[in-house]
C-alpha cells in the first residue's frame, strides 16, 4: 500500500512538473512575443528579414533531415555519421569554389559564379555519396540483424572516424570559403533585404527536395524503398533487392547532405572538420520534429526549426530584455527537441502515419 502511495505521488509530481513546463513555455513564448512586439524596437522589415534567413537555414536543415529520416525509415537506426557526410560535401565544395576563385573565374559575373556553384554541388554529391555508401557497407551492414543499440554505437564511431580522418587530411584549422560577390548582392526589392545567396539556397533545396519526393513516390525503385521500409521480408518475397533499396536510400540521403554542405558553406563561408556536428544535430532535431521516418515531415520540421531558430530568440526573449538573445538560438532549438520528445514523440506528422498504418 505504501509503495503504491509513493508511486502515485511520484506520478503526480511528474504530471505537475510537465504541466508547469507547458505553462512556462507557453508563457515565455506568448508574453515574450507580446512584449517584444509592443516595445516597437524592431520594424516590420527586421521581422521579414528574420523570416527570410529562417527560410534559408530551414531549407538546409530540411535537406539534411531527409537523410536522417529516410535511413531511419528503412533501417530503424539513427545514422549519426550523417553530419559528417554533410561536412565532406562542404569540404569538396570548398576546393571547387577556391579553385574557381584562383583561376579568376568565380567573380567574373553571376553566370560564372552560378557555374561554379553548380559544379561545387555536383562534386560535393560525388564525394559525399561514396563516403556514405562506404560507411553503410563497413559500419552498418554487418550489424543489420544486431540489437538496435549496436548500429547506433557504430554510427557514433563512424562519425568520429570521419571527423578525425578529415582532421588528419586537412588539419584542425578553419578554411574560409572565398567571397562570391554575386551572392552578397541583394534583390532589387525595396524595404526587405534578400540576398541572392538566400534565393539560391532556397531554390536549390526545393528543387532537390521535389526531385527526391517525386523519385520516392513515383518511380519503381522509390516505391520499392517504401516497401522495404515497411517490411523487408515481404519485399524480398516480391523479388525486391532489399540491399539495393537500402544502398539507394543511403546514397540519396548523402547526396542531399553533400549538396546541403555546399549551400551551408556558401552561407556561413567556412568549413572545418567539426562543421557537420551542430547542423547534423539540428537536422536530426528537425527530423524528429516532423516525425522521424516521414519524408514530408523532415521537410516541414526543417523549415519550422529554421524559423524558430531565426525568429525565436528575438521574438520570444528580447521582450524580457535578455541580452544578445541570438546567442541563445541553440538553446531554443534544443529545448524544442526536448519538448517534442516529451509531449509529442511522434512529431508533427507522426500521427498521420500511425493512422494510415492501421
Amino acid at each position: 500500500m505504501k509503495a503504491s502511495l509513493i508511486e502515485r505521488l511520484t506520478e503526480g509530481a511528474i504530471a505537475t512538473f510537465l504541466w508547469l513546463l507547458r505553462v512556462a513555455v507557453v508563457l515565455v513564448v506568448v508574453v515574450g512575443s507580446a512584449l517584444t512586439i509592443m516595445s516597437g524596437r524592431y520594424s516590420l522589415e527586421v521581422y521579414v528579414g528574420l523570416v527570410v534567413s529562417g527560410l534559408t537555414l530551414g531549407s538546409i536543415y530540411a535537406l539534411i533531415a531527409l537523410g536522417y529520416t529516410m535511413v531511419y525509415g528503412i533501417l530503424r537506426m539513427i545514422n549519426f555519421a550523417h553530419g559528417e557526410i554533410f561536412m565532406a560535401g562542404a569540404f569538396a565544395g570548398y576546393f571547387v569554389v577556391t579553385a574557381s576563385d584562383k583561376l579568376g573565374f568565380l567573380n567574373q559575373g553571376p553566370v560564372t559564379a552560378m557555374i561554379t556553384i553548380v559544379v561545387a554541388i555536383l562534386v560535393a554529391v560525388a564525394v559525399a555519396t561514396p563516403i556514405a555508401l562506404l560507411v553503410e557497407k563497413i559500419a552498418y551492414r554487418p550489424l543489420r540483424n544486431a540489437p538496435r543499440l549496436v548500429p547506433l554505437i557504430s554510427a557514433i564511431g563512424a562519425s568520429f572516424v570521419l571527423q578525425y580522418t578529415f582532421r588528419g587530411f586537412f588539419g584542425p584549422g578553419i578554411y574560409s570559403y572565398p567571397t562570391v560577390d554575386f551572392l552578397d548582392q541583394t534583390l532589387p526589392i525595396s524595404g526587405v533585404i534578400v540576398r541572392y545567396v538566400d534565393v539560391i539556397v532556397v531554390i536549390s533545396a526545393f528543387v532537390m527536395m521535389t526531385g527526391l519526393y517525386l523519385f520516392v513516390m513515383r518511380t519503381k525503385l522509390g516505391t520499392a524503398i517504401r516497401a522495404v521500409s515497411e517490411d523487408k521480408d515481404t519485399a524480398a518475397l516480391m523479388g525486391i533487392d532489399v540491399n539495393r533499396a537500402i544502398v539507394t536510400t543511403f546514397g540519396l540521403g548523402a547526396a542531399m547532405a553533400g549538396a546541403a554542405g555546399v549551400l551551408y558553406a556558401l552561407l556561413f563561408r567556412q568549413v572545418f572538420f567539426l562543421t557537420g556536428f551542430v547542423p547534423g544535430i539540428k537536422a536530426f532535431t528537425a527530423a524528429v520534429l516532423g516525425g522521424i521516418g516521414n519524408i514530408p515531415g523532415a521537410m516541414l520540421g526543417g523549415l519550422f526549426l529554421g524559423q524558430v531558430e531565426s525568429i525565436g530568440p528575438t521574438l520570444f526573449l528580447d521582450g524580457f530584455n535578455v541580452p544578445s538573445p541570438n546567442q541563445l538560438k541553440d538553446v531554443i532549438a534544443f529545448t524544442m527537441l526536448v519538448l517534442v520528445l516529451v509531449f509529442r514523440p511522434s512529431g508533427i506528422l507522426g500521427e498521420r502515419i500511425a493512422r494510415s498504418r492501421a
Binding site: 515481404t234 524480398a236 494510415s356
Partner: protein
C-alpha cells in the same frame, strides 16, 4: 504417365539459434499439383515455406526447382526463378496503395506492358481491388487484403505458388472465395503448395498432402487417403 517433380525439398534442416526447427523435411511437388502441408502451430509449416523462399537458411539439405538447386540463392532472386510466396498474415505494404502493392509484386518484370497486364488480370480476378486501386492497403478489410496478397504474388507469374494460411482470420464466405480462387489458379496450371490450419478445406482441394509435426514429416499420402486417415481425422479434422 510419370509425374515430373517441379519442386523438391530434400532433407532440409533449419535452426533458429540452438532450436532445431526443421529436422529433415522432404517434400516433392509435381507440375500442376496442389499439395498441402498441414500441421499444428509451431510444427514448422511456415519455416518450410521460408526455407524454400530463401528467407531462412537451411543448414543441411537442398531445395531444387526443376532439378536445379536453389538453396543459398537470395530470396529476391528466387522470385525471378518462378517461386512466389504469399506470406502468412497477408503482409500488405500498408502505406502503399493497392496499385503500388501490385506493382511491387511485379518488381521482377522488366517490361511495363507485362506489369500492366498483371494489374489488369488482378483487377479482373478481384474487381473489388479495382475500386480501391488508389486507396492505401492498410485501409482494406481482411478479405480484400487477402485478395491483394494473392493478386500481388501472381504479378510475377509464378510457376509455383506458396500459400501460407490464406484462410486465416477470414469469415467463412471469404474462406470459400479464397479456396475457389486457389482452385481457379490450379485449373490455370499453377503449381501450388498450400499451408493450412484449416485441414478440412485444404484436403478437399489438394491432390496430395503432407503432415508435419515438430519439424518432421510424419505422414504423406493422397489427399483422399489422408481425409480417411484416423490420425488425421482425430488431430486435424476434429472428428472422433
Amino acid at each position: 504417365m510419370n509425374p515430373t517433380p517441379i519442386l523438391e525439398v530434400d532433407d532440409i534442416h533449419v535452426y533458429y539459434g540452438n532450436i532445431h526447427a526443421l529436422k529433415g523435411v522432404s517434400l516433392t511437388i509435381n507440375k500442376g499439383e496442389i499439395v498441402t502441408l498441414i500441421g499444428a502451430n509451431g510444427a514448422g509449416k511456415t519455416t518450410t515455406l521460408n526455407a524454400i523462399s530463401g528467407l531462412v537458411p537451411s543448414r543441411e539439405g537442398q531445395v531444387r526447382l526443376r532439378g536445379e538447386t536453389i538453396s543459398g540463392v537470395a530470396s529476391h532472386l528466387i522470385v525471378g526463378r518462378g517461386i512466389v510466396q504469399v506470406p502468412e498474415g497477408r503482409r500488405m505494404f500498408a502505406r502503399l496503395t493497392v496499385e503500388e502493392n501490385l506493382r511491387m509484386g511485379g518488381y521482377t518484370l522488366t517490361r511495363a506492358a507485362d506489369v500492366q497486364a498483371g494489374i489488369d488480370r488482378a483487377f479482373e480476378m478481384f474487381p473489388r481491388l479495382k475500386e480501391r486501386r488508389t486507396q492505401v492497403a492498410g485501409t482494406l478489410s481482411g478479405g480484400e487484403q487477402q485478395m491483394l496478397a494473392i493478386g500481388r504474388a501472381l504479378m510475377a507469374g509464378p510457376e509455383v505458388l506458396l500459400l501460407d494460411e490464406p484462410s486465416m482470420g477470414l469469415a467463412p464466405v471469404l474462406v470459400d472465395f479464397v479456396f475457389d480462387t486457389i482452385s481457379r489458379l490450379h485449373a490455370e496450371g499453377t503449381t501450388i503448395l498450400l499451408v493450412e490450419q484449416n485441414a478440412r478445406m485444404a484436403l478437399q482441394i489438394a491432390d496430395r498432402g503432407y503432415v508435419i509435426e515438430t519439424g518432421m514429416i510424419v505422414l504423406s499420402d493422397l489427399a483422399a487417403n489422408l481425409r480417411e486417415n484416423d490420425t488425421v481425422r482425430k488431430a486435424y479434422l476434429g472428428i472422433v
